[in-house]
Symmetry: C3
Subunit: 132 residues, 3 copies
């Protein structure tokens, strides 16, 4: 937890670095532990990733889609900080801000098993980064 899906073009040759960057941004902005890393990358032919070229004034050419499932409860300002930080970290990796699409889906502490068929977050009672 979180679980991060990254869907990007197979023509990008640095998918691992992009995945590293997305995780670093989660650590930097919303307090995810460095060791709390779970990511699924899927590399696609360019035609399988469809994005309007200009919706809401953004100029898209080659979108990287980042879909994050995480425990709910972060306030809006932390979410805003997360988006900004992902953009900052990925820019030097050739992902233009215009080409970054991020969406979040929230669930609860009971909705995660990170191994051994246990619901570890119930025992923790919270997750790092949530307001207390």
């Amino acid at each position: 937890m979180p679980l991060v899906r990254i869907d990007l073009s197979a023509e990008r040759d640095n998918a691992q670095a992009i995945a590293d960057g997305v995780h670093q941004a989660l650590v930097d902005s919303i307090g995810i532990p460095a060791t709390d890393r779970f990511q699924i990358l899927t590399r696609h032919p360019a035609a399988e990733l469809i994005a309007d070229p200009s919706y809401l004034g953004v100029q898209r050419h080659d979108v990287v889609f980042v879909q994050i499932s995480l425990v709910g409860g972060r306030p809006t300002d932390l979410k805003v900080a997360l988006y900004r930080r992902i953009a900052e970290v990925l820019a030097p990796l050739g992902v233009r801000g215009d080409d970054l699409f991020v969406t979040l889906t929230e669930n609860g502490l009971a909705d995660w098993s990170v191994g051994n068929g246990e619901a570890q977050l119930l025992g923790l009672g919270t997750v790092p980064g949530l307001p207390t």
Copy 2:
């Protein structure tokens, strides 16, 4: 926003037309702007797409899975209209109604960044198609 995942058999040779159709149905039925299009297609070997052949009286042979993330708040009648419209639009493309599976996951305005590390929907304060 919305973000639409379409998982379908690699044996279908008109994945792009199917993606066009799903988007058109969103525009027609729940007021998504024509330019608000974000889709991830994944083409699978047929064995990777598993669906019961007859659950709830439907006769499935070759299912197209459509998983839509969108801002919450549409009333039930609009969701019902969306499913019906997707089926109508895809039928001429060789997707039998029986082979259409759709599910929605809702989130909030703060849960989207459609470019440049910004949370654009917060500035808009709403999204098209929501009751006001």
Copy 3:
């Protein structure tokens, strides 16, 4: 409904058996009908599945990711039973408990169309396995 995404290494040669096992665990633990089976498998190069090797004391080598969308309302004890049962069923298939990652995303009865552009669960008014 439910819709189950299973992302696993292409080096595993028994993806179909693993999918069978995940479904059996849903039937055994939370009352999903045997015929209510909808699964999307995606086989990945090992490098595309990223998991910390030891977060929360688990020893991960080759993670199988299971992402389940289902109608909300199951109590915590049923979710805990589900995770345990998936681990039990998959162990004989070479999926070590340490390598099993499960997460749930809940939605509502109006959020499903399992064929023909209809919202079948609205007509049912509930789904099997929910407390009444």
